[in-house]
């Protein structure tokens, strides 16, 4: 009986905890589930503006955007962070954001500003690139792939694992890299060639990277995988034993990577417009931008933000990633995925 009572108390405590306490104003920030930030950085922001930030994690990037769209006008939060350039058109068409011409936009290169109306402001970017297992290529006396075209060669037969673009965000990004590189006419013949060369398709990044890829701690059979440009430095940062060199490397030649840019916006109908503006400015400021890489594995769009020395040492960055505009992505996403499915899976 006592056990029951204590359960009820717990439930009651949860109920009470969920009600907003009186005190400083509350700013609600809705994000996808990969969002992370340092505690001191947020505390300083809260103290400076005398407010409390409440984060709402809302599933993966697509799920979070759907939530924002279905609550448009009566928003769940004041700010939404986590729309990327593959979803940007959907967010803008559905009119979920209020424009905000942040003064900090002046510091950010134009190449990141994909929305001229300033409803969605760029925060960070990351590149989806091929990663390879360095040890495998040393042992087999084989040249690691340099360009996407190399993967069609017989010596790379059966070495590549990719994610399904219909279910995985890096999978879609890599499909877009091939669209950008080979053109809307040329990407399907390329994939037909990959299929001839025994490419393996799995549905999610975890299976590709942890199970099938030989360079990760899962020790799979395939030495080339679609992952992020930042994956090699994180193999060093989060290694089980101290490492000098990453066990993997990314292929960053021109047109072989796709750049994902993530945006923040003020949700239409917020009652805390002033706090929301302060938060957006904060995300674009060097304080937040410098905190981001080690927390979220993405890179600052603000060039004044300095990167940890570890990154410059262990990471190669693509100079010219493949480009596909958000409008093209929105217009052709379904058709490209459909055509890809018919070419590669059937």
């Amino acid at each position: 009986m006592f056990r029951r009572v204590s359960f009820l108390w717990l439930f009651g405590a949860l109920l009470i905890a969920s009600c907003a306490p009186p005190g400083p104003r509350v700013l609600r920030v809705m994000t996808h589930d990969s969002f992370a930030v340092s505690e001191p950085v947020v505390s300083a922001f809260e103290a400076e503006h005398n407010l409390t930030v409440q984060f709402l994690s809302s599933g993966d990037a697509g799920e979070a955007l759907n939530k924002a769209i279905l609550s448009a006008g009566n928003p769940l939060a004041d700010v939404f962070y986590g729309v990327d350039n593959t979803f940007l058109s959907r967010a803008l068409t559905e009119n979920i954001f209020e424009p905000y011409h942040s003064p900090l936009l002046a510091e950010i290169p134009d190449s990141f500003k994909l929305d001229p109306t300033d409803q969605a402001l760029p925060v960070d970017y990351g590149d989806v690139c091929l990663n390879y297992d360095r040890a495998f290529f040393t042992e087999h006396n084989l040249q690691p792939p340099q360009r996407l075209e190399d993967l069609l060669e017989p010596e790379y037969r059966g070495l590549l694992v990719v994610e399904n673009p219909a279910s995985s965000s890096p999978g879609l990004a890599f499909l877009l890299a091939t669209v950008g590189h080979f053109g809307p006419e040329g990407f399907l013949p390329y994939w037909e060639g990959l299929r001839q060369n025994d490419v393996l398709v799995v549905n999610d990044w975890g299976t590709a990277y942890n199970t099938e890829f030989s360079g990760s701690s899962g020790r799979g059979p395939r030495p080339i995988v679609v992952s992020y440009g930042s994956s090699p430095p994180f193999e060093v940062l989060y290694s089980a034993q101290p490492l000098e060199q990453p066990p993997t490397a990314a292929v960053v030649s021109d047109g072989s990577c796709f750049r994902q840019i993530e945006f923040v916006g003020i949700l239409r109908g917020t009652h805390n417009r002033d706090l929301a503006e302060a938060w957006v400015d904060f995300m674009l400021s060097t304080t937040f931008q410098e905190d981001m890489p080690l927390q979220m594995y993405v890179f600052p769009v603000n060039p004044n933000a300095r990167l940890d020395e570890m990154f410059t040492r262990t990471m190669a960055e693509p100079q010219h990633p493949a480009v596909v505009s958000p409008d093209d992505i929105a217009a052709h996403r379904e058709a490209w995925i459909q055509a890809w499915t018919e070419t590669v899976l059937q």
């Binding site: 949860l14 297992d133 399904n164 799995v202 899962g218 379904e334």
Partner: protein, 575 residues
């Protein structure tokens, strides 16, 4: 002496009183959000309902998805029964040491997140798993002989792995109350063992087998993570297709039509089940397990029991054991490195779990995550029992009324509902006071209860319906009020079933991932959420920590189930 009460609610009004709480709950947190999202989705279709319906009817792809969804669910359910029934017999009919431990161990798979299960199976059967490596070495093969990832076999195996515990518990509990003299009589009359099993025992068990099969089938029918991760890109269930249409393609009208199709299938199944169940149920003299169970005395009996136990453990716990072992193993240094590191045992990954290396705001220690998980699970157990018990009683007492025939299938619908659709429905309709719950953690146990509630009802009704009405009538004649009848007759006879129900609610909440990921506060993740975060990042240290936390989740789950087994219902336990 007081007027003798009839033990059953005499009028429809009495039955409605029992229905009040469960129906209010379902209306507010199930029907209302679901209607909301379906309405909005259809409103977004410019050509009206006709367009998505036409796609549904004309697309060979979607027909294939529907066929596959049914086919794999039927196969998985049959295999689960095949594995589960012998185990249920063992647990029901025999007394042996370590039985509660065996029951707890076989329940662990039910709560493990799909990503962890995928990792566990891959450690065994994957391209570089022990089995393939062993076979390659033994026979000098160049390629791994067993293909596992992206196969139908992987889906079926994972479904059996997850759901065998449902059969073990629901059928096992009911079986343990069957009077062994019934089969004894059949044998005296000349029937051999198989004939007795086929003609006497199985028919008597049918209500529980049907209940368990329905739940297993619905779980497999709406399977998402297993099909997506282990099945790979060539297989899709309706649920996977709904997710794809909603999230990747944002085709809400088509997603809504698919959701309705999934609901219609669920409803048809549950109506069939309800018809069947009322025909299968016979009033029985239920006996306490202490009366029906024997010790394992003969050598063949012991050998058979050891064999059955070994099979269950091999199938249900060996993948997890492999994973737990891995969480204590220091990883060897290869991978292009020349730094020599001795392979061996280590607690590094467990130590690292308690370190917030990057001062992350959303860091949660294992203790915090376990606390959050247990708080949600406790709330779910209470809520699911509080709502499910009245509903089960109402169903059991009045089997033939219209309200029962209507409500019984309705109760099962949440299990067959697309989680993506329902989650978005919450966002749509729960955004205005007094029900402004969109950002509230209270939604987590509410969502878990929607799944746990049908389990509670299905765990209780077979037992309740089998209680002979004469028992209750006799008690009433002797002056017992309706509550006294429940306390003195019903609860002692189905006390174990209440514990089974509580255990299911606990396990469902502990392992739930989809709804929790959509609602939970990032500062207070549940254990599965924390595991998912670690697994979604590169780096051996993250991978090792994910395995360590999974091992902790297994321990918490087994511990929780052992505690629930020790509880006693109505101060009588099993008599």
């Amino acid at each position: 002496m007081t007027t003798p009460h009839r033990p059953r609610p005499k009028t429809a009004l009495g039955s409605l009183a029992l229905w009040l709480a469960p129906l209010t709950f379902l209306t507010l947190f199930y029907i209302y959000p679901l209607a909301g999202i379906l309405g909005v989705s259809f409103a977004r279709s410019p050509a009206g309902l006709a367009a998505p319906l036409r796609t549904l009817v004309t697309s060979p792809h979607l027909r294939g998805v529907l066929g596959f969804t049914f086919g794999q669910a039927a196969l998985s359910t049959a295999l689960t029964l095949l594995v589960g029934l012998p185990g249920a017999y063992l647990l029901a009919r025999f007394e042996f040491r370590g039985k509660s431990l065996l029951r707890a161990l076989t329940g662990i798979p039910f709560v493990m997140p799909t990503l962890v299960v995928a990792a566990a199976f891959n450690a065994l059967l994957g391209p570089r798993g022990w089995v393939n490596l062993g076979l390659m070495q033994a026979f000098g093969l160049a390629e791994p002989p067993i293909e596992f990832v992206n196969t139908l076999g992987a889906i079926l195996l994972a479904h059996v792995f997850y759901n065998t515990t449902i059969v073990l518990r629901m059928v096992g509990d009911f079986w343990s109350h069957l009077d062994p003299r019934l089969s004894g009589a059949a044998q005296t009359l000349g029937a051999n063992r198989w004939k007795t099993l086929w003609r006497v025992t199985l028919p008597l068990l049918m209500p529980a087998i049907a209940s368990a099969s329905l739940l297993v089938f619905l779980f497999d029918f709406t399977s998402f993570g297993v099909v997506l991760i282990l099945g790979g890109p060539r297989f899709a269930t309706l649920e996977v297709e709904i997710y794809r249409q909603t999230v990747s393609l944002f085709n809400l009208p088509l997603a809504a039509v698919l959701s309705l199709l999934q609901l219609a299938c669920t409803l048809t199944l549950t109506i069939l089940y309800t018809r069947l169940a009322s025909r299968l149920t016979r009033p029985l003299a239920l006996k306490p397990p202490s009366y029906t169970q024997r010790r394992l005395l003969t050598r063949p009996a012991r050998l058979a029991a050891a064999g059955a136990t070994a099979l269950l453990l091999l199938l249900l716990t060996s993948p997890l054991a492999a994973l737990a072992a891995r969480s204590f193993a220091r990883l060897d240094p290869e991978r292009g490195q020349n730094t020599p590191v001795a392979a061996g045992l280590t607690l590094d990954f467990y130590r690292e779990l308690s370190v917030n290396r990057r001062l992350s705001l959303f860091y949660a220690s294992p203790a915090t995550a376990i606390g959050v998980s247990l708080a949600y699970a406790s709330a779910t157990v209470i809520l699911a029992l509080a709502l499910g018990m009245p509903a089960a009683w109402a169903l059991a007492y009045r089997t033939q009324t219209l309200s029962t025939r209507v409500f019984d299938p309705l109760l099962m619908l949440p299990l067959g509902t697309s989680a993506v659709s329902l989650g978005l429905g919450f966002i749509l309709v729960l955004g205005r006071p007094p029900l402004d719950l969109r950002a509230s953690p209270v939604l987590v146990p509410l969502a878990h209860t929607l799944v746990a509630f049908p389990f509670v009802v299905r765990s209780l009704t077979p037992g309740l319906r089998s209680i002979r009405p004469q028992l209750r009538q006799a008690a009433a004649t002797l002056g017992a009020g309706p509550f006294q009848v429940v306390r003195r007759i019903d609860l002692p006879l189905i006390g174990r079933a209440v514990l089974v129900a509580a255990t299911f609610a606990f396990m469902i909440s502990l392992g739930e991932f989809g709804a929790t990921a959509l609602i939970a506060r990032p500062e207070y993740p549940t254990v599965p959420l924390a595991i998912y975060r670690l697994l979604s990042r590169p780096g051996a240290l993250n991978y090792g920590q994910a395995l360590a936390l999974s091992t902790i989740l297994m321990a918490v789950c087994a511990g929780g189930m052992l505690v629930i087994e020790r509880l006693r219902i109505a101060e009588v336990g099993e008599f």
